[in-house]
Symmetry: C2
């Protein structure tokens, strides 16, 4: 690139109408001049050939992505991860903010993903290592999206559950049970105090446990539990399937008795979720398979909060995400970033409920609550309820007992003395 | 896990009916005992709690994923990339082959992705670094899929192009031109000898160049080019958009004059592609945005040949992939693995045409041909045709001239002496 070529991909905020641009924060490692590498990054993701041969024109003013801020630091030891790179030269670690004109592609999720995580980003000359750290949308872009239909407020109203976390549980064994015994486990967990008993993200509409049978059995069990406890309950059915079955499975599951639906967001595709959102009569809950494949490493891929924001934009009311503790291999700050991405203002898009999960039980509830810092979260044990030594009702009760203690300012271990379910949970699942 | 727990997730091939299983090759780095880590990897991706509390049952024989082969080597220096890991102990680098029972979820792409790239794979205790290296499907699973409708044979018949590569070109400038001047560039490139003029993967159905206008203008230009040259041509329109518009945009683009369609596979979602395949009247071509985010690093994520296989399974007739040379940051062996994943036998699923691409021109054609080793590939320059100093017709001619030389066994540089378009291409795009 010539100095003029490079200059055409740099701009000051005051030069742009920022409502026309999505802002992208990247970190990257480059070989050669960081300012040129950043210009390539903009060029490749927007207009790499900005004029026809033999015609005096320049598409950059309207169509080019532009560098707004760039910081760089030398890395004398070279790239942090071994990679192929055609450009030779000193290596720098950089942070850049880029303004990408959303008029290039419009308010479409597949085209957005292609622009901000596509060939232009991952094949920019001189930049073999890059990570999309965050994304910000102007109101002009957000206005085309519905976002969550129920959100946190709507979910709380449905459950009549206020000023406390929402208590989920993943029915286990997750795979292998037919509908009736599977429903019995859900029933027990509701009696014990769960708000939401859910299918595992791996449980599909499968011959040995068809969705129709499962939703009917769980729906019936749910209504019995509601009658016996006097409080509303939710059966969260997994309808993850081919996209052209989502609407049909929505209708089937809801008609039979499911009153919230789980979708594995990235395996199905966010666009399929946005389609389902337009049709949905019940809350939609996201699960996180596949996301770790591109979000775990600190120096490459995409920060998981970007995916959280996109899931909220697509219309999920609840986002289940890898939670706290080394078991889930996610730095605490990253979990908090994802929690915040659910809760913080996002133009007209309503907040969604964050559910940081993974190997939870009565023993981990207080820690999760302290870290999240408010009650607007969901808590989703699996074996912590359904592997409880006294069974699922006791497992669910142990969670509610732990919350009673936390809400009352009593140490959980102290509360356990007079509450055998909680005591058994701490014995089975607490730190040895 | 107890020794018995671990043993329940290991098996010999002769113990299993392999038609019931998908085979997965992973590499991973683990802390602690590799045999236990591999058992966790199976457990987490299938049935992590294989019995109800208080009931004597075991879902593992039917529902558990099982280790078939495991090799491990100590890594005294620890993990190759810094990561969080809850398990302490010596680090090993491992290769494992796992049999995963596809009856757990059925022949559904989102559920397949959830199983083989989901929470179970990326959150197995002790395994913070893992890469899905390859996947093999039994006929019982493949039989539920259509695969490519036209494939290589069908595409060649449509173009009447045999015993040579298929010549694509990405119309540039990719972003910013309205339909008429954009079509004029396509027209010129067909006259010069391209088989297929294509939209860039970033070009959407956008107000400044609506798909209807573009397909009409390019369709008309294509028919003129076919009349003037006497050979069939293809306009490849990008219909990447929200999944619920794919069928509508297919019908619109084809009615107006497009005769093949481009879809950004992973941003749209493979399930959306499988849906489109059932409806499609023209060949479907995949582009690769987003894939590098989870496939570039040697020690993490997923090998891109897995995605190639899934794109073929979803029904693409052509798969465009990052090609050879350091510009595309993809090791040569990986490109060849992806090429082979298109061409090699896959049960009843027809081969699809591999198009290894990236900064190609007449100067790179011979190298690509020698590396692929046969004529069953597509070649897809962008600037190599549309940035040719003599214009797109000359750019396309330079590609055909390069192929004439290769096919006749004449050195390309020698052929260039009497062919000014080829000479200009080598001057502009050849190694300086």
């Amino acid at each position: 690139m010539t100095p003029d070529d490079i200059a055409g991909f740099h701009a000051r905020r005051t030069d742009l109408d920022l409502d026309d641009y999505i802002e992208l924060d990247f970190t990257f490692e480059c070989a050669g001049d960081p300012r040129e590498a950043a210009a390539h990054l903009c060029s490749e993701q927007s207009t790499a050939q900005w004029r026809r041969v033999g015609i005096d024109e320049d598409f950059r003013p309207r169509f080019a992505a532009k560098v707004l801020d760039l910081e760089s630091q030398p890395r004398p030891s070279g790239f942090s991860i071994p990679v192929e790179c055609a450009v030779r030269g000193p290596v720098h670690a950089c942070r850049v903010t880029i303004a990408h004109p959303h008029g290039n592609f419009g308010p479409r999720l597949p085209n957005l993903i292609s622009a901000v995580l596509g060939e232009g980003v991952f094949f920019a000359p001189g930049i073999p290592l890059i990570r999309l750290q965050d994304i910000r949308f102007p109101d002009s872009f957000l206005s085309a999206f519905q976002g969550p239909q129920f959100g946190i407020v709507g979910l709380r109203d449905r459950l009549q559950a206020y000023d406390r976390p929402i208590f989920f549980g993943v029915i286990k064994p997750n795979i292998g049970l037919p509908a009736e015994p599977f429903a019995e486990l859900g029933y027990q967990s509701w009696l014990g105090g769960l708000d939401i008993a859910k299918d595992d993200e791996m449980l599909a509409d499968i011959p040995w446990c068809p969705l129709a049978d499962r939703a009917a059995a769980l729906g019936e069990a749910r209504r019995r539990a509601e009658e016996e406890t006097g409080v509303p309950k939710i059966y969260l059915a997994n309808i993850t399937d081919e996209v052209d079955r989502l609407v049909e499975l929505h209708d089937l599951a809801v008609a039979k008795g499911a009153n919230a639906l789980l979708v594995n967001a990235m395996p199905v595709g966010l666009s399929g979720v946005r389609m389902l959102r337009r049709h949905a009569k019940v809350p939609l809950i996201a699960h996180f398979p596949f996301i770790a494949a591109f979000s775990r490493l600190a120096g490459y891929g995409v920060h998981s909060r970007v995916l959280t924001r996109l899931q909220r934009l697509a219309g999920f009311d609840v986002v289940i995400m890898p939670g706290f503790g080394p078991r889930m291999m996610t730095p605490e700050q990253e979990v908090l970033d994802c929690v915040r991405a659910c809760l913080e203002p996002m133009g007209r898009i309503a907040p969604c409920l964050p559910v940081p999960g993974g190997s939870d039980s009565a023993a981990t509830l207080e820690g999760v609550y302290r870290k999240v810092g408010c009650t607007d979260f969901g808590f989703v044990p699996g074996r912590g309820v359904f592997g409880h030594p006294m069974g699922p009702a006791a497992g669910a009760a142990s969670i509610r007992q732990a919350w009673e203690a936390i809400a009352a300012g009593i140490p959980v271990a102290e509360h356990a003395v007079a509450h055998p379910e909680l005591r058994a949970a701490l014995d089975a699942f607490g730190r040895k």
